[in-house]
């Protein structure tokens, strides 16, 4: 038998190897941009933000997108991208007014409020996995006697939670347009006038489907995406329900910029984002950015939606 086998490494050698690997990996890993400078020139930083209840998770989604944009802002003096999230719409409006956030991604309902109360500008709409818009759908049990919104008089509808535009504001507005008076109730509420509709908060898309399926409420309202998502509407439940009303389409999400953002920066940002889906690293950043497929420029349909949403917010009496 020729040759000899390699002797096993002693544990001291193994430790040295490990230490060497550590040093090597630190040497080749890109250095984290120094984010803790003493004083930073605000003009050199582009800040992206969103309203968030999970900052660490959303940081991972926003950072690659802002870094991608900043890398393509040569000649404009923007050198660094940062993230700043807000707890709620009111705080984001303050951030936009105070110039602490440059670029915000939001659903249309909140975006319209930012436009009206902070003078923000909607510059792009987001396309998520091929969907540019969504619709609100009202569902009832397959064999129920509910066929139009008017049939909901005196009954209870399950909606998500007061903060959800698709599963609260929009259904509320649609009910008002049908000359009904929506008000907040618990699911078992029986004391409703014939032109009143009870809105019960199910606090979770799957709960909306389940409540209708189990007869806890007469109907439910959520987005068509939820209707098509098995986790939110399990097939066994869906088989027992039917859609009896669909809203007109509403744009899903838009990008906004703050009022004082230098026009050169804004225009470059828009140009870069419109083309991001054509480049591999752009696509990677878009995917991290809440699975965005691409961005589209504002069009007639969006302008119509903005007007409709503004009208909805006014009719519903939304503040904050």
């Amino acid at each position: 038998m020729s040759g000899s086998f390699a002797p096993s490494l002693t544990s001291r050698a193994a430790t040295a190897l490990l230490a060497g690997l550590v040093v090597l990996s630190l040497a080749i890993a890109p250095p984290a941009p120094s984010q803790a400078r003493e004083a930073v020139d605000r003009a050199k930083v582009l800040v992206i933000g969103k309203v968030s209840d999970n900052p660490r998770k959303h940081y991972r989604r926003l950072k690659p997108m802002v870094d991608y944009a900043v890398a393509r802002m040569t000649g404009l003096g923007v050198e660094e991208g940062r993230v700043l999230m807000a707890r709620d719409n009111a705080q984001m409006i303050r951030f936009l007014r105070d110039g602490r956030v440059d670029w915000v991604t939001e659903t249309l309902f909140s975006a319209v409020r930012f436009v009206d109360q902070a003078d923000a500008q909607i510059v792009l709409r987001k396309r998520k996995k091929g969907l540019r818009e969504y619709r609100n759908v009202f569902v009832a049990q397959r064999d129920s006697d509910i066929h139009t919104l008017r049939d909901l008089g005196g009954r209870v509808v399950a909606v998500e939670d007061p903060g959800s535009t698709s599963a609260y504001f929009l259904p509320r507005y649609l009910l008002q347009q049908a000359d009904l008076r929506p008000r907040q109730v618990t699911p078992g509420e029986a004391d409703l006038g014939t032109d009143e509709v009870g809105l019960a908060f199910a606090r979770g898309e799957i709960n909306i489907a389940m409540w209708v399926h189990e007869g806890k409420t007469a109907a439910g309202a959520f987005s068509n995406v939820d209707w098509n998502t098995p986790d939110h509407t399990p097939p066994a439940v869906r088989a027992n329900l039917r859609i009896f009303h669909r809203s007109p389409p509403i744009a899903r999400a838009v990008e906004l910029v703050r009022p004082g953002l230098p026009p050169a920066v804004r225009d470059r940002l828009v140009a870069v984002l419109l083309q991001a889906h054509e480049h591999p690293d752009g696509r990677r950043a878009l995917y991290a950015y809440q699975r965005t497929e691409r961005f589209d420029p504002p069009d007639e349909a969006l302008a119509r939606n903005i007007t409709e949403v503004r009208e909805m917010l006014r009719a519903v009496g939304a503040t904050d």
């Binding site: 038998m1 086998f5 096993s8 490494l9 002693t10 544990s11 193994a14 430790t15 190897l17 490990l18 690997l21 550590v22 990996s25 890993a29 890109p30 984290a32 984010q35 803790a36 400078r37 003493e38 004083a39 930073v40 605000r42 930083v45 800040v47 968030s52 209840d53 999970n54 900052p55 660490r56 959303h58 940081y59 991972r60 926003l62 950072k63 690659p64 940062r82 993230v83 700043l84 999230m85 807000a86 707890r87 709620d88 602490r100 939670d161 007061p162 903060g163 979770g204 799957i206 389940m210 998502t229 098995p230 986790d231 399990p234 097939p235 066994a236 990677r284 950043a285 995917y287 991290a288």
Partner: protein, 412 residues
Amino acid sequence: MRITATSRLVGAAAAGLLGMPTLAGAADYGNADVLVRTGDGLEVATMDGAFGLRLNGRLMFDTVYFQDDAVDFHSGTEIRRARLDVSGTVHFDWDYELEVGFANDEVGIADAWIGYRLDSISRLRIGQFKAPMSLEEQTSSLHLTFMERALPNALVPDRRIGLGWLANGPDWTLAAAVFGDEGDTEDDDDEDDEGWGGGLRGTFAPFTQGRRAAHLGASVYYRSPGQEESPRIRARPETHITDTRLVDTGDMEDINHAWRGGVEAAGVLGPWSVQGEFLAARFETRDRDFRRFHGGYAYVSYFLTGESRDYQPDEGAFGRIDSILHDYGAWELALRWSRLDLQDEDIGGGRQTNWTAGVNWYANRNTRFMFNYIRVKADPVTLEDGNLPDGTPEDLGKDEPHVWQLRAQLDF
């Protein structure tokens, strides 16, 4: 989800308590607000993503009854796990995790590592963490379908201190790591050696669509034990309360190095799911003799109440049942076959085949109760160092006990 004025107050109080109204390293053109969130343990995080700290924990209590055959097992109860986990982020791109277990009046460290995020798909990790092997191993003990991992888990290396590189996309994962010495581990079930080693695991989900998913994975692992150590493979009969191991290779002398490999497959179809793995190990002695062992398991599970198991294609493992459909919780039935063959020409470590029937009741997303009934069929080994209790007859041909066990589990 709305953040109420109360939570804002709590957040500010927490920030004050932690002594950080303005954070060094945070956005320095203003203060970074702190948010407190619950629902997944307790988390405190700054609004600019710079810093976050999360506290989680788990408690598991078992009670086990043995219907002995030839070997005398002791029925009883135990705190199966009592663990606190702290994890988080510092300075935007650095992550960490420290998990400490307190069961059996001992303090043991599970995961303990420092991580650095290289880009949106990959990260480095240094410290103590699991070897990149086996779907069941990578799945948290909180989300296993049965009370214990299957017999072939004895072939999966335990946590060690090392350096890892991990990457993932929406439907794939890749993990590579090199390991050094054995760390201070919580569970002492696996072999016991020093030295160094390295492993690689890749997973792919050919499709995931709502409540349907498929998983494929494979891993390979190499280890060269230290001079003084003799590797050993042994397994409890899928119940943790006993230290009696019916199958046990004993300390294997003169091992030069060992190769291990595994293949994994799993599928989810609505309330149904299947999962199986095959694992093998080949130890090579200094005289070029081989010692080969292998094992596998396969199981099927079904949710009576309509839920599905939660497969996470970007992690290559299963997670929590998030949406429980009914007020009365979720009920799951499961059946598993598993086998471990530690019988080689020169090493008579025994063979064991188990059938387990399980019933799980998920009271809510953080609490569950489990029942397992195991039929053990073993060709056990009797070692000189007493793997079997005193009084057990020598030359025991077979042992076929039945095990009945219950668990209460909560995590936050």
